[in-house]
């Protein structure tokens, strides 16, 4: 018998012919936050939760995203930052990109480690947990883009901000490669003391438009 057939046969033997009917799963936990996506209170909550992870949030109007991205890069990289050190997702809106920046293409992923910062959009943001989700779409870029440069700038628009985890997951496509980001990379492995910045980007800046 193949390993596959044997493991499956063991499972059936363990459960027996007369399987107990499992309890019905009752989903009486909060499905929605109650506030619609983009509600001003949700934006406030998102800012609070993201800053709690020691990330930085810069708020702006939808028309000011480009200038605010540049301000974020200034803050993350210092006064001497150059657009050539910044790589952006290929589908990032033109007017969000710093002039002269590098645009990700099909180069080997490890070459992205040469860039100081990356700029991406997000697919959804979950206010209650301060979570940004990138879904590998052209605006979010491939996974390595938001991983290798040491400074990550994510642009979130108000309509992308939902209240709860169930609302966030419902907006996502589980067939795409997803990355949920809640603050900069961190570890609690030494005496359970949280230290921000290990292998992923050590600096996370969020531009919240709207």
């Amino acid at each position: 018998m193949s390993a596959r057939d044997e493991v499956l046969s063991r499972v059936r033997q363990a459960l027996g012919a007369d399987r107990t009917t499992p309890d019905e799963v009752v989903r009486d936990y909060r499905q929605t936050d109650g506030r619609p996506a983009g509600d001003p209170e949700l934006l406030e909550l998102l800012v609070d939760r993201v800053e709690d992870y020691r990330a930085t949030v810069l708020r702006c109007s939808p028309a000011e995203v480009g200038a605010t991205v540049r301000a974020a890069l200034y803050q993350g990289l210092g006064a001497g930052w150059a657009a050539g050190d910044v790589v952006v997702a290929p589908g990032l809106a033109e007017n969000w990109r710093p002039a002269g920046c590098d645009v990700d293409d099909d180069r080997p992923a490890v070459q992205l480690a040469d860039r100081a910062a990356s700029v991406t959009a997000v697919a959804v943001a979950i206010a209650e947990t301060g979570t940004l989700v990138l879904d590998g779409s052209p605006a979010c870029g491939r996974r390595a883009l938001s991983l290798l440069p040491d400074c990550l700038v994510c642009v979130v628009t108000a309509d992308q901000v939902v209240g709860s985890v169930p609302e966030g997951l419902a907006r996502l496509d589980p067939l795409r490669p997803l990355t949920m980001v809640s603050g900069p990379s961190a570890t609690s492995d030494i005496e359970l003391q949280r230290v921000e910045g290990v292998h992923g980007p050590r600096t996370l800046l969020v531009v919240l438009a709207g």
Binding site: E6, D23, E24, P177, S188, E191
Partner: protein
Amino acid sequence: MTATVPPKAPTFLGLPTAPRGVGHLRGDQSFPDAARGALRDGQLRANLGHATSTIRGKRAKVVDELPDWAQLREAGRALKAATMARLDEHLEELERQVTARGGVVHWARDANEANEIVTRLVQATGTTEVVKVKSMATQEIGLNEALEAAGLDVFETDLAELIVQLGEDKPSHILVPAIHKNRAEIREIFARTIPGVDPDLTDDPRQLAMAARTHLRERFLRARVAVSGANFAVAETGTLTVVESEGNGRMCLTLPETLITVMGIEKVVPTWRDLEVFLQLLPRSSTGERMNPYTSTWAGVTPGDGPQEFHLVLLDNGRTAVLADEVGREALHCIRCSACLNVCPVYERAGGHSYGSVYPGPIGAVLSPMLTGVEDNASLPYASSLCGACYDVCPVAIDIPSILVHLRAEHVEAQERPTAEAVAFRGLSKVMSHPRLWHLAQRASRLGRLIARGRPTLPNALPPPVSGWTRSRDLPTPPKETFVESWVREHGS
């Protein structure tokens, strides 16, 4: 040196348990013997006390924040129970979906078979280096040893696993494997083992984390094969999930050409929507965060993004034997958050190494004996005071105390000859059912006052078979008079 063939592992209801001679589910010593050394290690107790009290406080704060925690917990429990009842169907669906999206699914009856599969897959790529994401399943089966025996270099990339690997130590906690080490000890390990490390490295956790970043950066960038575990696998979509903090997981899941994921068969969940429950329960219970820094999900292979070759190894290694136990199968619901370790008064004092298995603490005390057969880990079901704190914090409401009692009963019933304890309790039962014998015995117990010589407890070093009871318990010195005697003295008969 002659190679010894380990005896065949025992079976439960005809289903094989995890084989002997491979992996890390069995210790060299019984729990009380192993714990004795740990209890004398003041540094270890201080490190554990500090770390577990910190994490308990953080967990309590973020759990209290959710008004629907009880409902989420009950949904998590029910989801796991429903999944187990149809486990074969969910595994077949998972296999279909992963295959449809370009992944290759392998099945492993036990640790040996899983190790062989992974070794063969790594060798087929022609590389000799493997980077690893922290994974309990690969610890359980001793994958690193198997790969190293095949001449491959294995690099653990989680900070705590790196500390354990560099220190040639063993993990002692599910979430924080180096919880038994403090910052000064970790600084010493890094200074001694990392080539070219800054000699001025201090014991500041930030500096230590940066030293690990520098040490591993090049390895990540040149790695061609990674091995990971999985926290969840969604059957309906074939979506795998890894929950982590540092970004080492993302490096391994994203940069190499080949990804091999080893996953216990109980990690499957039926639908994508089920993650809305578990992604709320897990981070709050484990690190005490609203959400862990990084969660990665992927379904098969995505052209132009991440590994272009993906293998999923589905591991039994005793899990079907656990599933066959109608009381014990709840232990398979565990999502490896480690909240039960952090609240356990026994774990906090004895430490993870005393359990002898990669699964320590309350969940380990039930899971390890069931995976190996209770006779191979016979002391673990007793490594608990049955206080119930583990059950209270478990995010999927596993009734660990009841399983412990169930396993104790199973162990006792498996004894062919009566134990000294059984004989003693039979004698006690006879004495307690005859008032005259009882009074006599109570008066006789006063002899214990002579042995105690004025101390509040009797000495622990009593001769066998009494030592079996006293070596891990304090017996109070018998009082001068019994309750009945003092009643008669004060109130008359």
